[in-house]
Symmetry: C2
Amino acid sequence: MANSPGAFTEAQVISRLREIFATTDPRVEIGIGDDAAVVAGTYKRQVMTTDMAVEGVHFRTDWSTAFEIGRKVTAANAADILAMGATPHYLLIAVALTGSEDIKWIEDLAKGIKFEADLAGLQVIGGDLSRSEKIVISMSAIGHCDSPVARKGAKVGDGVYLSSLTGWSAAGLAIMESKLISATDSHAVAVREYKNPTIDYKFDATRATSMCDVSDALVIQAKQMAESSKVAFKFDLSKIQSCSEFVELESLSRAIGMDIWKWIFAGGEDHVLLATGVDLPGILIGEVVVGAGIQNLPTGVETIAWRHF
Amino acid sequence: MANSPGAFTEAQVISRLREIFATTDPRVEIGIGDDAAVVAGTYKRQVMTTDMAVEGVHFRTDWSTAFEIGRKVTAANAADILAMGATPHYLLIAVALTGSEDIKWIEDLAKGIKFEADLAGLQVIGGDLSRSEKIVISMSAIGHCDSPVARKGAKVGDGVYLSSLTGWSAAGLAIMESKLISATDSHAVAVREYKNPTIDYKFDATRATSMCDVSDALVIQAKQMAESSKVAFKFDLSKIQSCSEFVELESLSRAIGMDIWKWIFAGGEDHVLLATGVDLPGILIGEVVVGAGIQNLPTGVETIAWRHF
């Protein structure tokens, strides 16, 4: 009964995790299994972030497999490192389990983390296992860079770009909630983006003047960047409408009867990159102008405020 | 009603946290408020750890104040850095709140974290706020060192040392559970050590051959160190009995009618340092001998096994 919940020890779980996360990276001098991990020093700037995901809030175990959940939380952390113009390197993982998971579920979670970590270039170097009534996964990612790209730095005259179109994750969530899942391509893409957002690991941010990961709504994070940079972001909806991804997402929004602009501007969890600069790759969605705040929002999106505690 | 639960926005909370965690450390180039923090590079080895605490499992809000909870979780993370012979530097904090906390509680949690972080030399550089049914606090600490002290490395002939006596936290927990709280000094010390374990930040581990933070039971972590080092740890109970802290803890265990040896060997959460070497500071509790495992355990402690999931 080695697979039954509770029929395995913490030592056995850690032993399996050490196998799954084994690394041959010579910079990792001490990995999982000691009080802390030890990695080689670097003269480059260190970039550090943390992100927590809670069962029922950020993921549902009846909607997503353990593998998918592991990927998604890892992606969210990797995206924060990318958003500073940095290269992801190391990952620490703290997980609280309920005690009702079998060892296969835990292994699949680890394999999902490992899969996305490999895409991101992250080495898993340490972790912590706890107990909780709901599953909680908290990660910290560490990367490095020569010169960081902050949220401030956008200049008047810059273009505003998305590495990919936002809204797909919200569309996927809407499909899951409405149980309207069909076998059409755009349905599948949206559900996949909700479960496992595609991170633009290859986005070239060399010339970006400011950048941000769109984990919350685009409208919120554009506002933050504009405020930090003491400029205004003026959206160009016709430019957004002309990108090929928009056409695909729009047909999906019509089929479901939902507002595509709310998905795009207020959806969140896409983990695409929002950047300013001249001639950047990605989708041009507006320009940086003199002023404050954000301009030319689609009707119905202006009222979206901060989340309340 | 700015103090009522839910009557404040995430932006307001983050603004207060930025004030509380403000740092003038020139190595912190970008702190709280961007996608990730950016700190200066260092040629020294980087030491990284993560530790999660869950309401009802690791702390109780009716037993500990927010300030005490903040201190304790910070201390646990700092101790893991110390246990590698490293100097703590940076702290990332992910917190899930239930929504029923008022802003004072959140501020007190932050102030407790800041208080212990100052003792440890940790700068809070970033964080994440989430929702959960129970409060969850997950931290990652980053430090650096020239040469790490691992769990392996204990040599036959070394002494086995504790930086302070273990068992006080378990004693405090027993007092809290039995509601036997009295105004005596040893009661107060035990309850304080349960709520806010004293971390031996000044323990000089320069000559230590192996080291570990006693977060779980001493018996478990001594066994891990002996296994990693391919030696045996032989305890000397008479030496433990001769330390002044033992006398104090023993009078407390007699008054409550509990087994002092279980507190010392199986208690956990003291976050003292267990180290091997010659002429180390702290309390000599045994020696490293040829063999495997741990020897000379007190009666009744042998059977303590791994935690089950």
